[in-house]
Structures are given as structure tokens and as C-alpha cells.
């Protein structure tokens, strides 16, 4: 690899790569994102590579292992350029056939095409699939297009041109102004204006400053940061180098979750490549700007997603947050000015510089600009990552893009913002999703997780789930969070187990208020949100648990009774044999019954009954 000593060198390299690729007739893009990988995407990449190599056709056909395409429900995904033929649920045994018909010839493999469930029509091209057609992809666009481990591919697509633009004459203040004009707000949850943060950090006193990328994506159900860092690490790195230039930082850190080993690997590889090209280190692109950065792994603590806890962890301390009266932009890591943004925010920077802040600000709503990536998961047909402009109605996300709820079930709510967020109920399905609207509805943007819940989900159980999460993850530094959340958890467990007493709901409300007022950090203050929002919209379900000892969604086990329908039971005895607790009794060919005392409500009997004779009450 040659070192790039000037901006002209970068342009020349780009031309050279494009020149080399002129012989390529078709490009096969295989998704190596987290969803597709768990279905064998990585093996698929190798299989395609081997086949093309064996045919000595690498000059004409290029195999690219990309990042996440977003449509995880249909993975593993293979797309063949230039026609962008979209094949879904591809397995290794189909590789030869795809190459034969769609790579070396211009035919289609019909049964691997996407079928629109509405019309029954087969759709050939990627962008014509409703899931993609309704999105507005800006930040997340390159992830499915770029070879995630090759810097040359990123450069050939215009990568590092924003950095070149910045270094070829923009003053740091001008860069900050551009980000301020864009109206970019922190994508990690807080929604603080990034430009303002950068400006404060630039103005802060201190020789040595840091930029930090928060890739400790702990919000369960959100994985856009993982997809970005794995798929387009250079986009994040470029954003950070630009940020470092604007702020005057010399060193940067990516703090990545331990649970994302592939993201750590790809980020490290990308840093090495950038260093070899002289895009990191001393004298970047021949200028006098010096900056280098490193990847640090977390160790499985949710609290380290909080900025001050993250910095404590980087210093080798326990990941405990501190009070907000000292700002990290003035005294952060090692008490030096530090600017922390999350992965998606950093990844937005190159686009903003290339297209201008005004362009970015023209997308979105009055106070929430640009687009946002959401991970739409849970009880939804088209699970995956979705990028839409701010202010897109929830209905469009759930139905037009998400394809609605599986099994004809009724939509109940969307949980957003993870353990700090809340639930948006069915009656607010037309809500225009942005920072303000979500907050008004009692939830929050968070990092963009959207967990779709259907009628089979118990909202008290959802609250219990998040409280359990928070009890485990509370760092224990302040009393309201350490003790208060625990008491809330106990109260909600009592409700789920039929031990609740009248007045418990009021106690819960009181605890919610106290913790919101008194906890130390943002995560503590927002810890009661899952309870507060479900109480606001689903109070009837809490009442059913407390007063009637009944779980309307039939989820809370201690409140359920398994019953065998005497009319349907044929006495086949299968349930009796399968029951792990020997709780089912009955003679052969006679109606069986369940001993409620022994029954552990595991549901194995229902799964095995061929006559639908067992039901829950």
C-alpha cells in the first residue's frame, strides 16, 4: 500500500481503483450483516468467491462481502449488479445455480426472488421491493453496497472525499458551522445538537483533546450501530477524523461492546488500512494535522453506554457515571476535553460535509433534522434495519415498510428507546416519529430500537422485563436507582405472580416520580420510563393483574390455568407422555386432565397435542 501524501494522491488512487475495475461486468453483493451471518452469510461469501476463482473469472466478476442490507427477515441476501437482482434466503447449495443463470448468463432464478405478499407478484430489483422503496437511505445507504473490509472499495465510492474537502481549505470553525447548520442531533439517545457540543469542546481549555465514538450499543433490540461499524467502518472513522480536526483532538477511541466481536475486528482492520494510507497518524494527507485512534472493547456493562461511565471505563476504572455538573467537553477522559458521539452520529458527518449542512437540514421536521435508522424487530413481518426521514409516521414504518404483524395478529404497541424508553400504543399509530413527538408520547428516541408488540404481549411482563434488565445493570452508585428500581421490580413481579395488593400501582407511580427526580445519571432518571409509559396507556392490564389476578395476554404463568377440553380430547396420551412433571393424568382413550398443583405451565402439552384440545385460561 502506498502512503497518500496529498489530496491529489487520494484522487489519483480513486481513479486508479476505478480504472482497474473497468473489466468487471458484474458484481455479486452478499450480505455479511449480523442477521444474514447467523443464517450462513459468511459461508455464502466464501462459496461465491471459490466458484468465481475456480472459473478464473475474477477479472470480470467481483464478489463483495458487504455489510447489512437491512432486510434481515429475508436473509441471507444476494444482490447481483448492475441489474440489482435481489435473491432472498439463499443457501450454499444454490450458489452454482445462481452463478450459472444470473452471473454468467442474464437469466433469473425465479424461486429465490422476493414475492410481494400483497399482490403475489415477484419483484426482481432490490429498490422496487416495498421494504426498500419506502425508505430514505442516506447514512445507511453504503452499508449494503460497500465491501466492508476493503478500504479501496470505500475510496472508490467517494470515501474520504469529505475529509479531503475539509483538509483542503475548511477552517475548523467552518466545519463546526456546517454541522450546526445541518441540525444534526446526537443519535445515541440524548438528541443533543452535535455542532453545539463540538463547539464547546473546541473552545474548552486544554492542549490535549479526545474524540470518542460510543459503540457500546447496549439498548436491547437496537443493532444499527453494530451494522454500521461492521459494514462501513470507514464511514465512522472518516466522520471521527473530521470531528477531531474541527475540535482539535489528537487522539480518538472507539468504545465497542464486547458482544460485537465482528465490529471490533472490522474496525481494527479499517484503522490499520487507514493508517497505512496515511489517513491516520502524523501529517494526514500531507497536511500538518495529526490524529490517531484506537478500538477499546467494553466488558458487558450497559451503564458504559453513558458518556461519563464510558470514560471511567476507558481509564481502567469501574464504569460508574458521575454527576452532570462537570461537562465532559471540558473535563472528560483523563480530565481533558472530550467529545463523545455515537456511531450513527459520526457516520452522518461525511455526508453532511459532502452535501452541505443545508441539504441535511432540508430533510426531517422542524426540530429533528435528517434521517434516522431504526431497527424494527419483534412481532413484525419484515424485521430489519430501516432508515427514514425524521417525522415519518409510525404507520408507514410498521405497515408499508415493516409489512405488518405476522399471523394476522393485532398490533398493540411499539417499544422505543430501550430500557430508557416507553411504549407507543395503537391509538398513536399515526405519530410522526421524531425526538419531540416520541418524548411527548412518553417514550424517547433512544438509539432507535423499535420493538413491535402484538396482542399476545403482556405489557406488565414487558415492564417486568425492563425492570429486571435495569436491576441487573444498575451500577449501584446512587440510591434511587440501586434501591428504587429494585423495589419497583419486586412490585411488578408480585403483579405477574398474583401476589399484588390494591395500592401497589400507586406505590409504583410514587417510585417512578422519585427516581425520575433523584437519580444521578441519565440512565437512572429514565429507568422508570418503561413502567410509567405502560401505566399511562395500559393501566387496565395492570388492574387486571392486581385486582382480578388475571393476565389478559396470557403470558404471566402463575396467573394461567392449563385446561383440557373434554370435547376435543381423544385420550391419545401424548401429552401425558410428554409432560415433564407428570402433571397430566387419564386412562388411555379417556379424557385426560391436568393437575394444577403439579403443572409448571411449560406449554409442552399444547405444542404436542394434535387435536387442539388444550387451552389456557
Amino acid at each position: 500500500m502506498m502512503r497518500l501524501n496529498s489530496i491529489q494522491d487520494l484522487d489519483a488512487l480513486r481513479q486508479q481503483i476505478l480504472e482497474q475495475r473497468k473489466t468487471i461486468r458484474k458484481r455479486i453483493r452478499i450480505c455479511g450483516g449480523p442477521g444474514c451471518n447467523s443464517g450462513g452469510g459468511d459461508r455464502l461469501i466464501k462459496a461465491f468467491q471459490k466458484l468465481i476463482e475456480d472459473k478464473h473469472a475474477t477479472r470480470e466478476y467481483m464478489v463483495t462481502g458487504t455489510g447489512c442490507h437491512g432486510f434481515c427477515a429475508r436473509g441471507p441476501i444476494v444482490v447481483i449488479e448492475p441489474a440489482n437482482i435481489f435473491y432472498e434466503r439463499v443457501h450454499e447449495d444454490r450458489v452454482a445455480e445462481i452463478c450459472e443463470r444470473s452471473v454468467f448468463a442474464d437469466d433469473l432464478v425465479e424461486d429465490l426472488l422476493y414475492v410481494d405478499p400483497q399482490t403475489g407478484q415477484k419483484i426482481v430489483r432490490e429498490k422496487e421491493i416495498p421494504f426498500y422503496a419506502h425508505q430514505e437511505r442516506i447514512i445507511f445507504n453504503d452499508t449494503g453496497l460497500t465491501w466492508s473490509t476493503e478500504i479501496d472499495d470505500y475510496i472508490s465510492r467517494g470515501g474520504y472525499s469529505a475529509l479531503a474537502k475539509v483538509l483542503s481549505g475548511m477552517k475548523p470553525e467552518e466545519v463546526i458551522e456546517e454541522v450546526k447548520i445541518s441540525g444534526l442531533r446526537g443519535r445515541g439517545g440524548g438528541g443533543f445538537p452535535s455542532g453545539v457540543k463540538w463547539e464547546s469542546c473546541r473552545k474548552a481549555h486544554g492542549e490535549f483533546k479526545y474524540v470518542i465514538c460510543n459503540a457500546d450499543e447496549g439498548d436491547p433490540g437496537a443493532y444499527m450501530d453494530r451494522a454500521l461499524l461492521e459494514g462501513t467502518p470507514h464511514q465512522v472513522i472518516e466522520g471521527m477524523i473530521i470531528g477531531a480536526y474541527a475540535i482539535g483532538a489528537k487522539e480518538g477511541y472507539i468504545y465497542c461492546r464486547y458482544e460485537y466481536p465482528l465490529a471490533v475486528k472490522h474496525a481494527n482492520r479499517a484503522l490499520e488500512q487507514a493508517r497505512e494510507y496515511g489517513l491516520l497518524g502524523n501529517g494526514i494527507l500531507g497536511t500538518d494535522f495529526n490524529f490517531d485512534m484506537f478500538v477499546n472493547r467494553g466488558a458487558g456493562a450497559f451503564i458504559c453506554g453513558e458518556s461519563t461511565a464510558l470514560m471511567a471505563s476507558l481509564e481502567g476504572k469501574i464504569g460508574e457515571p458521575r454527576g452532570k455538573h462537570i461537562h465532559t467537553v471540558e473535563k472528560g477522559l483523563w480530565n481533558r476535553p472530550s467529545n463523545l458521539n455515537n456511531v450513527e452520529s459520526w457516520a452522518s458527518v461525511p455526508t453532511i460535509i459532502n452535501n452541505g449542512g443545508k441539504w441535511f437540514a432540508s430533510i426531517g421536521t422542524e426540530r429533528s433534522k435528517g434521517t434516522k435508522i431504526f431497527s424494527v424487530v419483534g412481532k413484525i413481518n419484515n424485521t430489519g434495519l430501516v432508515e427514514v426521514s425524521m417525522g415519518t409516521p409510525l404507520r408507514k414504518i410498521v405497515y408499508d415498510i415493516g409489512g405488518g404483524i405476522p399471523g394476522g395478529k393485532r398490533f398493540k404497541a411499539v417499544q422505543t428507546g430501550g430500557p430508557s424508553g416507553g411504549c407507543v400504543p395503537e391509538e398513536l399509530i399515526d405519530l410522526a416519529v421524531d425526538f419531540e413527538q416520541l418524548k411527548q408520547a412518553g417514550s424517547m428516541m433512544g438509539s432507535g430500537g423499535m420493538i413491535v408488540l402484538d396482542e399476545d404481549t403482556c405489557m406488565v411482563d414487558v415492564a417486568r422485563y425492563f425492570l429486571n434488565f435495569l436491576v441487573q445493570e444498575s451500577c449501584g452508585k446512587c440510591v434511587p436507582c440501586r434501591v428504587g428500581v429494585k423495589r419497583m421490580h419486586e412490585l411488578v413481579i408480585g403483579m405477574c405472580e398474583g401476589r399484588a395488593e390494591p395500592g401497589d400501582i400507586e406505590k409504583l407511580e410514587e417510585l417512578c416520580n422519585t427516581i425520575q427526580e433523584a437519580a444521578l445519571c441519565g440512565l437512572g432518571k429514565s429507568a422508570p420510563n418503561p413502567v410509567a409509559s405502560t401505566l399511562r396507556y395500559f393501566r387496565d392490564e395492570y388492574n387486571a393483574h392486581v385486582f382480578d389476578k388475571r393476565c389478559p395476554a396470557k403470558v404471566c404463568k402463575p396467573l394461567l390455568t392449563y385446561i383440557i377440553d373434554t370435547d376435543k380430547c381423544t385420550g391419545c396420551g401424548l401429552c401425558r407422555l410428554k409432560c415433564p412433571e407428570a402433571a397430566i393424568i387419564g386412562a388411555k382413550r379417556e379424557c385426560h386432565c391436568i393437575d394444577e398443583e403439579l403443572c409448571v405451565r411449560c406449554g409442552i402439552c399444547i405444542d404436542n397435542c394434535k387435536f387442539d384440545a388444550i387451552y389456557i385460561e
Binding site: P34, C72, E315, T457
Partner: protein
């Protein structure tokens, strides 16, 4: 993996004996020996010139570290929100029945450690179970016995 102080030193030297490397050093030791041996914690504190209480504090605080030996297979059942609503808890219940382990426990023969993880970011494949580098997607309680058998077979092949 037999404990050896040289290997601990090698890991420390790779990152440099400074407090800012503490977490990275401990992660590598934890990975290398499959847990954090007590002697390694003492060595790290000594070499990094940190109070041993702080090193133990960090070891206790972060979920990834184990101060007890763990199984040859470490099974992480995802308890993220998407996995939770799609039946993740049923997988844990079934595992408890099959192998008689609760999350955080290791079987006596050191075959298996059962752990939970709050989201691995493979929500589209929910519910998921991660063993080593492999992510098993759309796992149901019914698939648990087959998964356990697969691990047993893998071990038989290794030896």
C-alpha cells in the same frame, strides 16, 4: 488451559502495563484461560501498579469476567427485548430442565456454562443462542435437545 504467569505477562506486555489498558488486558486473560484466575488478577495489579481492590472491583463489575472456571462451551442465551418477546425465556427454562443449570452456572464436568446476554444485535433472527463464534437463529425450546447434542458431538470430534 493451564495457568501460567508467563502467558499473563505476555498479554500485559502486548497492551502495555498502564491503567488505561486494564480492561483490554483483563478481557484477553479472561478469554485465554476461559476465566480470570485469582493469580492473574494479582499479577495485573502488581504490574500495572494499581490497588488490587480496584482490579477486583473491575473484575466484579463487568459481566464478561468470571472468577470461577467456566465450561468448555459457553452458551449465551440472548435475553434482549426482541428475543424476549419471541420466546427467549422458554429456551432458558428448557435448558434448565435439560442440563440442570441456571444462568451463570457451570456443569460439574466443565462441559457447559449457561449464561444470558442482553442482546447480541442479531434481533432479526430472534430468539438467538450464541456458542463461541456461532449464532444459532430462531431457536425454540424444542430445538434445545438437538443443540445440546450438536455440542456433545463437536466435543467428541475434537478429542
Amino acid at each position: 488451559m493451564e495457568f501460567s504467569l508467563q502467558e499473563v505477562d505476555a498479554i500485559i506486555d502486548q497492551w502495555g502495563p498502564t491503567p488505561s489498558s486494564l480492561l483490554q488486558i483483563m478481557l484477553d486473560i479472561n478469554h485465554h484461560f476461559n476465566y480470570l484466575p485469582k493469580e492473574s488478577v494479582e499479577r495485573v495489579a502488581e504490574r500495572l501498579r494499581m490497588p488490587i481492590s480496584q482490579v477486583f472491583g473491575v473484575a466484579n463489575f463487568f459481566k464478561v469476567f468470571s472468577l470461577k472456571p467456566r465450561g468448555r462451551f459457553i452458551m449465551h442465551v440472548c435475553t434482549g427485548t426482541a428475543c424476549h418477546v419471541k420466546g427467549g425465556p422458554k429456551i432458558i427454562e428448557r435448558l434448565e430442565q435439560e442440563v440442570n443449570l441456571k444462568p451463570g452456572e457451570t456443569s460439574e464436568d466443565l462441559f457447559l456454562t449457561l449464561e444470558t446476554v442482553n442482546c447480541v444485535g442479531a434481533c432479526a433472527s430472534a430468539p438467538v443462542v450464541v456458542v463461541g463464534d456461532t449464532t444459532y437463529s430462531e431457536v425454540t425450546a424444542g430445538k434445545v435437545p438437538a443443540l445440546l447434542k450438536e455440542l456433545k458431538d463437536q466435543e467428541a470430534q475434537r478429542s
